[in-house]
Structure formats: C-alpha cells, structure tokens
C-alpha cells in the first residue's frame, strides 16, 4: 500500500459554515443576556471575550491540523499522564500545601487551576480530549493485535477501557463534577459502541447501567437516609427534586421554572432580539439556550438544534469516509461528547432532564471549554483532510 505523499488538504466547508453560524449565534445571544449579568460581573464584556476565544480557537484548530492526526497516536499516553497529573494535583494539592491562589474551588467543587490573566483552566475538559485520543488508539492497537476478535478479545478490550477510564473518572467525580463525569461516560459509550464489540456485550453493559440506576431508585425510595449519607448528597438530589416537581420545590425548581418560563413564553416566533423578560442568575453560561429561545422562539430554537444536527451529520460523514479507523473512532468520541452536551443542556432547559452544570457547546460563554471543543473539531477536520479516495477501495 502506498500513500500519496503530496498533502492535499480537504476542508469540510459545511462543517466550518455550521461553526461560523454557531459562533455568530453565540456572540449575539451572550450580548442579549448581558443586561442580566450580575452587577459584580457587569464590567466584563462577555460577548467580546467570546469572540477573542473563538479567534484563539481558530489558531488551535490550525495547530491541530498541521500535524497528521495519526501522529497524535504516539503522544496519547503522555497526554494521559499529564491529565492524570493535573487531576491528582487537584485532589491532593490542597493537602500538600498548594495554595488556593493556584487551585480554585467554585460552588464546592475543586476543579480548576488559576492561570492568572488567561482565566481558569479545568483539567476535566482536557481529560475529555485525552480520553477520545487514547481510547481510539487503544481500539486500533487492540484490533491489530487480535484481528480475529473472539469473544475473549472483546472482553479484553472492555477491560482495557475500564482500566483507562476509571482512574480519571473517579478523580473527577470526587471533585465533585458530575457533569464532566457524565460527558466522559457519553464519550466512552460512543467510542465503545463503534469499536465493534459484540452487541450482546454492549447490551449487557447498558442493562448493567440501567440495573444500577434502578437499584439506586430502589435504595432511595426504601432507605432514604442511607442513600443520602452514602450515595448522593442532598444538593445533588435537589436537582432531581427540582426536575421532577419544579413547582413544588420552591428553590430547587427555581432554575427550571425560570427556563420554562423564558422558553415557553417565546412561543413560535420569539419576542425578538434582546427582549428578555425572564431573569437568570448567570445567563451567559448554562442557560444561554433559554435566552436564545426566548428571543427567537420555536423557529429559532429548531434552527439551532438543526445546526447541531448538521454538525453531527458532517462528523458522521467524515467518520464514514475516513479510511483510517483511528480517525473514525476519534469522530465517534467527538460525536458522543457534543451530542450528549447538546442533549443534556437543551434537555435540562426544557425539562427533559435534571439540571446539571453542562454548558451548550460553542454557544455558552466559556473560554477553556470552547478551546477544547474547537481542538476536537480540529481533529475531526484533520481526519477529513487526510482522507484519501483510493481507486480500488
């Protein structure tokens, strides 16, 4: 097999256009929410800062695309080591005397490093990228090593997944950062699903997860005290109370009630740009979709969802086209990540899912997370650009 040596970058224009639209929507929606931003943050122009982050992200995409994505394979373990180092730092740093000038605790979760003027950096975000790369590489190597792919081989692969994912996952859940934990689970699930593991194992794993969920509900209903002290804290449970009965739990349901009020009152066409009537404590992040939906109604919201769908569609397309499975797995991981975040974020604002602190990719304000998503997109574009059509394929 010979490879064409002259690089011919193929750029996926559709995907880039979709991103451009999302960036524009992001800018205008953050700008629309600006009035409601708490007084202490009023001096920050979030919309303008978001543009700066988008520009920085373009450089990151370009940087990602310079090197053949295949090369990333070789640094995945180093990246994994680095990610673990950062997570361990968060867990043990405070007790080892790292000052809280460096490690940041927000809303009870120790999950950030302060990087001075660059803002705050969340290792859990990096971990998403690291896991996409490392898991994809693991599958490729596994398939190379066990081309027959017996049942035993499948189980072995599952075991490898667990060995890789469990340590960072535990550290992230301990921060506690349930949202990132869920996103990583989505990434793992998507990659595992396309890895070719037999359906029966996938069903078994899925049923296992469902069974554990059911068990939790059972324990909660029958041994509430035990559940609260050993499994989920009251504040985490509040999310569920607020979701299941927003009008009964005055405080717990507040955010959902506000979100439903904003989105619902937007009706078909919305109230028009910047015509916000419903107040959100921090509108520029997790509830940005509610603001948008209030402004542009069902039509606007459907367009945003369609844009995301188009984004996913392009990525599926790239994954299907790619002649290197490593690239396909990466795409699957990114698809899992973005799909889950979009579904979770929009789902929570319309009452389909409980409230979790997961931002809406590309639209919510957020520097470091945007950067990570864009690097992911960079990877996908990289996969696309290195895809060759073979005459006899």
């Amino acid at each position: 097999m010979s490879k064409d040596q002259t690089p011919q970058y193929k750029i996926d224009i559709t995907l880039i256009l979709v991103l451009l639209f999302l960036a524009i929507i992001s800018f205008f929606t953050i700008n629309s929410a600006e009035d409601q931003i708490p007084e202490k943050l009023q001096h920050v122009n979030f919309a303008r800062k978001q543009i700066v982050w988008y520009l920085l992200s373009l450089i990151a995409i370009a940087g990602t695309m310079v090197i053949d994505f295949d090369r990333f394979k070789y640094i995945t373990w180093y990246l994994y080591g680095f990610g673990m180092f950062l997570l361990l730092g968060l867990e043990f740093g405070p007790s080892l005397g790292v000052s809280n000038e460096i490690i940041l605790t927000l809303n009870g979760a120790t999950g950030w490093y302060k990087l001075g003027p660059l803002g705050n950096f969340q290792p859990a975000e990096l971990e998403k990228l690291v896991l996409i790369l490392l898991l994809s590489r693991t599958i490729v190597e596994h398939h190379d090593k066990y081309p027959e792919r017996t049942k035993k081989d499948d189980l072995r692969l599952i075991a490898k997944f667990f060995i890789i994912v469990v340590p960072p996952m535990l550290l992230i859940l301990k921060q506690p950062d349930l949202g990132s934990g869920m996103v990583i689970t989505a990434i793992v699930a998507a990659i595992m699903f396309v890895s070719g593991i037999r359906f029966r194992y996938i069903f078994a794993l899925a049923s296992g997860v469902i069974a554990i969920g059911a068990l939790m509900v059972f324990i909660y209903l029958n041994y509430t005290e035990f559940f609260k002290t050993n499994i989920l804290d009251e504040y985490q449970l509040n999310r569920f109370y607020g979701w299941l009965a927003p009008y009964e739990y005055e405080t717990q349901g507040y955010q959902l009630r506000q979100a439903l009020l904003a989105i619902g009152s937007g009706t078909l066409m919305g109230k028009g740009y910047s015509a916000n009537e419903v107040y959100f404590p921090e509108p520029q992040t997790d509830f940005i979709f509610a603001i948008f939906s209030e402004n542009f109604g069902f039509v606007g919201s459907s367009i945003v969802i369609s844009l995301f769908f188009l984004l996913i569609y392009r990525m599926i397309h790239i994954a299907l086209e790619s002649n290197d499975p490593f690239g396909s797995y990466i795409c699957a991981g990114v698809i899992g990540m973005i799909t889950f975040q979009v579904f979770q974020n929009i789902g929570m604002t319309v009452g389909l899912l409980p409230i979790t602190g997961i931002p809406l990719p590309f639209i919510s304000y957020g520097g470091s997370s945007l950067l990570i998503y864009m690097v992911c997109i960079g990877l996908v574009l990289n996969v696309r650009s290195r895809t060759r059509k073979y005459m006899f394929d």
Partner: protein, 698 residues
C-alpha cells in the same frame, strides 16, 4: 495480508455502527424538538400569561398618623413632616445591590454610624477583604470543609472570631458610613419601603439624591413624619408611644397586624391612647403598583390608591386645664416636701370628670424625683391615676352611709353615739375626736369613724358589747363591697384605656376589718375609681363610664378647622345605683356640709368658694409602699379629697389623692381648692370670650 483482511473485516462493522449512532443522535435531537414544541407551542401562552401576571408588584407607602386634639380642638400631638430617603427591595433584587447602592448613597448623604454594631463591622470587613478573610482559616480547616466536616456557617464563625480589633478599626470613616447605610438597606423586607434616613435630611442631601435617583435602584425620596408633642411630656404616659421603624409591629401580634395590611416595619401605637386607638390613628396606606420585568427592573409606576391620613382623635381632656392643674400639683408637692413629716411624700393625683357625661377633663399625676444635683423634680405620672391604688380613708364614707340606708341598718336622721369603741382583741377604735350623739349628716360633715363602725356592725347584724368580742355575719364584706361597687369602687371603671387597676381587696374576713372597710382603710382604690364614685353621688346615682375619647374626626383640611366628625362618644351609664333618691340626696347634703358649714372638715378651705362645692375629705392610716426601700412598711397617711361643684346641678367632679404624707398636712385641701378655682376661672374666661364674640357679631 492478514492485516489487510482484518482491516476489511473491521471496516465492515464501522458503517453500521456509525449509522446506528447517527440514528441515536437523530432520536435524541427529535426528542428535544418535540419537547420544545410542547413547551413553546402547546404551553407557550400559559407561560406568557404567567409572565404578565408576575410583573406587577404593589408597594404600600405609609401615611401620616392621625392627630390628637383636646376637647377645645387644640392640638396635643401632630406630625412633623420629614424629608426621607427610602429604599425598596424587590423579590429578585440581587444581594449585591445593597452594597452598590450604599456606596453611591454614602457620597450623597451623611449617615450617622453610631448604630453599627461590632458584628456588622466584622461582616463588612469580610466583605471588603475576602482574601484576608480566607487567610484567616488554616489549611486543616479548609480540608475539613472540603470533605464536608465543616459547614459554610462554621467556617464563617471561625473567620469572624479571628478578626482582630485592629482590623475592625481599620475600617475608614467613609467605609463605616457605607456600612451604616447598607445596614438600613438590608434591614427592610421585600416590597415594603424602608426608611434609610429621615431625621436630619438636609435640603441639599434631598436634592442630591433626587438628581441621582436613576443610578440608585430601589431608592426613592418621600416624606416621612415624626410625632410632634406640643406639650412636651405632659400626659405622655397616657398618650403612650409608637414603635420605631426598626421595632416595627409588635412580635407577639404579627399575624394580627399583617392580616390588616400592615408591613413589618410599620410604626404602630404600643401603649395607651396610641395603642387603644391604633385602628383609627393609622391611616390607609397609599398603594403604588410597580411594574417590573423579570430582572426586577422598574418599568413604570402607577398609583392605585392615594391612601388616607389617619383619623384625628378629639380627647375629652382640656389641655389648658390639664396644664394648670399639673402646675398646681407640682407647686403643692414641692411646697409640702419642705414641711415637716412629709419625707415619704413623692406623688399626688388629680382626676377631674364631668359627672353628667363621664368626660375626663383632666387626668394628672406627678411624681417627685431627686435630680443628680439633689433638687426635686417632677415627672409625669398621669397613668398612676388609673394604674395605682391606695387606701382612701374617710372619703368613702358616703358609700358607707348609703350602704347603711340601703340595707336598712340605719335610716336618714338616725343618731348614734360617737365614743371610743373597745372590742376584745383589737386596739381602741375611735374618731379623731369624740363627737357624742350625732346623726348621719354630722357624721359625714365631721367625719366620724365611730358612726361608720356602728353602721357596719348593724349591716353585719352584729351587736357591740363594750370589751366583748365582735361577731358579724359572714356576708358583711360581700354586702358592703357589692354596694361600694355600684359606685365604681373595687371594680373596673370602664375607661377606654387599657391596663386599668381595680385596686386590692383585703383577704381576711375578721369582723374588725369590716369596720376598717367602712372608713376606707381596708380595700384600695384608684383615683379614677374615686372620681367615678363621687360623680355617681353628685349626679344622683348614675355611674358614668369615664372616657377620654370625645370624637373621631377626618383629617382636617385647613390648619385652623378640625375635620368632619365621624364618631361622637355619647355618655354611657354603666348602672343606676339601686337606691332611693332621697338617700342619695341625704349624702349630697352631708357632702355639702363638709365644705359649706362650720365644723365641716373642709369648711376652712372651701367656705369662701363662690361655686358652692360639696365633697368629703379622707385620711387613711397606711404603710409606705413606694419606690424608696428604706421607708417600706413605715406607717404614714394618705390624704384624699373628693368632691364636686356646684352642689346643685354639678358640672365638675374631682378626686385628689396624695399618698404617704403627714396627717397634719392640708395638701389635699390646698390642691382641691386651687383646682376648683382654676376650673371655674378658665370656664369664665372661656364664657367671656364667647360672650365677647357674640356681642361682636351683634
């Protein structure tokens, strides 16, 4: 080739799996769109309505309290308007707003920081120095917090305890001012106006704030009011007090007030007239609808109701008379204090009432207190006329005689022999002089104790045997007390003020005490009960309900004219004494002789009075029971005088009570003469003015 084959095989699964994945994505996104459709298209209008509904917020603005006027419509209490700077919090006003507003306001107004507590300062210091506050905690404590062994509150407490005084003192003067303002802003309840500063707001401050209102969310400028007492401390104990804005409505009656449209920081009457007539004095609040968006920003204001000033109370009190009488009491008290034997004397009371209507014209009480310089000063104790009680002595003898008539124990004109009585087991009981054979009129005129003793013995169906034991019927006390109560002695007078005392009843029923009861040395009565009792005799047997409220009027529109009458208090007869008119007339005659016939106990003081007074003196042997501990239990006398004038068709009844004074003193009669003189003097003056006015008009 093996690898190649493997790749082929592997490739075969990827498209399928990716397509399934894509289908999954499709399903999830479809779910989002469907749910969006449900929320926006099906329930959209409901949410729109809900938004419209939650936009209006009504804020109640307090109105000035009603005024108090005297019987001649002279102002006793009114309100001074004050420029006020207010702050209103809405439900979704962010916490951070108060600090911002306080900072801005501090530049515009001066605010006294003396109310700021140390705890306030500590909280504020932490707010200003979050990093330094964080550094107050050790790593161990932070770690404990992270593993949830310490709560936020506990951490905060530790931080508070570690703030040093130097750190507290590091707050600059300006910062303290900001804090003082912030305290006021935070103190209010959502949706009710909180006064940030009302007293001492200068015109400049008022102007500066009003110019900058647009930058001060929640801040407004209005007019607040302050109670203005025209006669200083006069009657203050009766008028009572109102709560301050920071006290708000009384905690124990929160529900009562809240259900009546009060806000928690409303000022309400907390004692006596202010409290009793709270519902009248308190006006209807102005209501202003604030239309806010969901962010809590004010879009527009709309007045729903203008509100109504509290209604004015016209009291029966004649404030000029009150003032003169207080002056008389004061002078007499100070003069008496200089005389021998009056070291325990510290108070005197006068109550004057219209015996035909129950209008209280004057309710005065004064208490002597030694100032730091050792000089005596008087303080207002008007309240004592209805909340304190004393043995009243012979003044009650009118009631004793009438009880005798009523029970058939004696008949008008009956003679009895006044001589010392010797009852086994008790001290000799006698009058102040032996009067020999006297009838009922003499007994009243000269104040015979023995005549009353013999009457009481007859009421009790007993027999006086010199040196023998005395046996009386068990029901003697109840017969006498029941009869006394028809005059208001020992029962509530029914005055329209709270906390009225009914006096104390002696508990023992030994026969000897029935004799003491007959001369007013056993049960205690209040000066107010005494005036009701003498009025009942004066008006021919009608027990009038004393009252201090004459009219309720709408707020006056012109400064000089009182407003429209809404309610007028009509005289209320509580009961008609169940006695023959002739009996009452007999006692009236006795009372007349006390003051108008030689040998009457008050003849020397009143014989020259042109207004034909009638009355009864009283001297009660008693024990000191006042605030001075050294005197407690020492024996002393209460001097009293009750009366009315003129003796035919009386227009004024009064009682004078001076406890703990020498029995040689004449203070009761001196006060009595002077107050009656003053009453008629003022009345004639008033009539003169009216006569002049009439003649002018003609």
């Amino acid at each position: 080739m093996k690898r190649e084959a493997a790749r082929k095989k592997k490739k075969s699964h990827l498209p399928l799996r990716l397509n399934i994945l894509f289908f999954g994505v499709f399903v999830m996104f479809s779910a989002l769109v469907i749910q969006l459709g449900i929320v926006q298209l099906i329930y959209g209008e409901t949410y729109q309505r809900e938004i419209a509904r939650t936009e209006d917020v009504t804020v109640a603005i307090p109105v000035p309290r009603g005024e108090l006027l005297d019987t001649n419509y002279k102002k006793i209490v009114d309100n001074t308007p004050l420029n006020a700077i207010t702050y209103t919090k809405f439900q979704n006003t962010p916490q951070s707003q108060s600090l911002e507003v306080a900072r801005k306001l501090a530049k515009l107004i001066e605010k006294d920081a003396s109310k700021v507590t140390e705890r306030d300062k500590k909280d504020f210091w932490m707010l200003l120095h979050p990093k330094k506050a964080e550094a107050k905690l050790t790593k161990k404590e932070w770690d404990k917090f992270k593993v949830k062994k310490l709560t936020d509150k506990q951490l905060y407490k530790i931080q508070l305890s570690r703030i040093t005084t130097t750190e507290i003192n590091s707050l600059s003067k300006d910062e303290l001012e900001i804090l003082a303002i912030k305290r006021e802003l935070d103190g209010g309840y959502a949706l009710s106006q909180q006064i940030v500063k009302s007293e001492g707001v200068t015109q400049e401050e008022f102007a500066r704030v009003s110019e900058n209102l647009d930058q001060l969310p929640g801040v407004d400028i209005t007019t607040d009011w302050k109670r203005n007492y025209y006669y200083g401390n006069m009657l203050r104990t009766l008028i009572g007090n109102i709560t301050t804005t920071s006290e708000g409505i009384p905690k124990d009656k929160t529900d009562y007030y809240l259900s009546r449209d009060y806000s928690r920081n409303d000022r309400v009457g907390k004692s006596y007239i202010e409290a009793t007539y709270e519902h009248i004095l308190h006006g209807k609040k102005a209501k202003i609808k604030n239309v806010t968006d969901k962010a809590g920003n004010l879009i527009s204001k709309e007045t729903i109701s203008e509100g109504e000033k509290g209604k004015d109370l016209v009291l029966t009190i004649d404030i000029d008379l009150q003032a003169e009488i207080e002056k008389i009491i004061e002078e007499e008290l100070l003069a008496a204090k200089g005389r021998a034997g009056n070291h325990m004397l510290d108070r005197a009371f006068v109550v004057m009432m219209n015996p035909n209507t129950g209008d209280i014209l004057t309710m005065a009480g004064k208490q002597l207190e030694k100032s730091k310089q050792g000089k005596y000063e008087t303080t207002d104790f008007a309240l004592g006329s209805m909340t304190t009680s004393y043995p009243m002595g012979s003044a009650v003898k009118g009631a004793t005689v009438l009880t005798g008539f009523q029970t058939g124990a004696i008949r008008p004109g009956d003679y009895q022999h006044d001589r010392p009585l010797h009852i086994k087991g008790t001290k000799e009981k006698s009058s102040w002089q032996n009067m020999g054979s006297i009838n009922d009129l003499d007994a009243l005129k000269r104040s015979s104790n023995v005549y009353m003793f013999l009457t009481a013995i007859k009421i009790g169906k007993g027999n006086y045997i010199p040196n023998g034991p005395l046996r009386l019927n068990q029901n003697t006390f109840s017969i006498m007390r029941n009869s006394f109560s028809q005059f208001g002695l020992g029962v509530p007078t029914g005055i329209d003020l709270p906390n009225e005392s009914i006096g104390f009843k002696g508990q023992s029923t030994l026969p000897g005490f029935a004799l003491d009861l007959a001369i007013g040395q056993y049960d205690t009565y209040t000066p107010l009960q005494m005036v009701q009792y003498v009025s009942t005799i004066a008006n021919g047997g009608y027990r009038m309900k004393p009252h201090i409220l004459k009219e309720i009027r709408d707020p006056s529109l012109k400064e000089s004219e009182p407003g429209q009458v809404i309610y007028s208090n009509f005289p209320t007869v509580i009961n008609r004494v169940e006695m023959n008119q002739a009996y009452i007339e007999r006692v009236q005659e006795g009372f007349r002789r006390v003051m108008q016939v030689p040998k009457g106990t008050a003849y020397s003081s009143f014989s020259s009075a042109p207004y034909k007074p009638a009355g009864k003196t009283g001297t009660a042997e008693t024990f000191y029971d006042g605030p001075e501990k050294n005197y407690r239990g020492k024996s002393t006398f209460n001097l009293t005088l009750i009366g009315y004038a003129p003796n035919k068709n009386p227009e004024i009844a009064f009682s004078v009570v001076v406890p703990w004074v020498s029995d040689k003193d004449q203070i009761n009669k001196k006060i009595g003469r002077r107050i009656l003189d003053k009453y008629f003097e003022l009345k004639n003056k008033q009539n003169g003015i009216i006569a002049q006015a009439i003649s002018k008009n003609e």
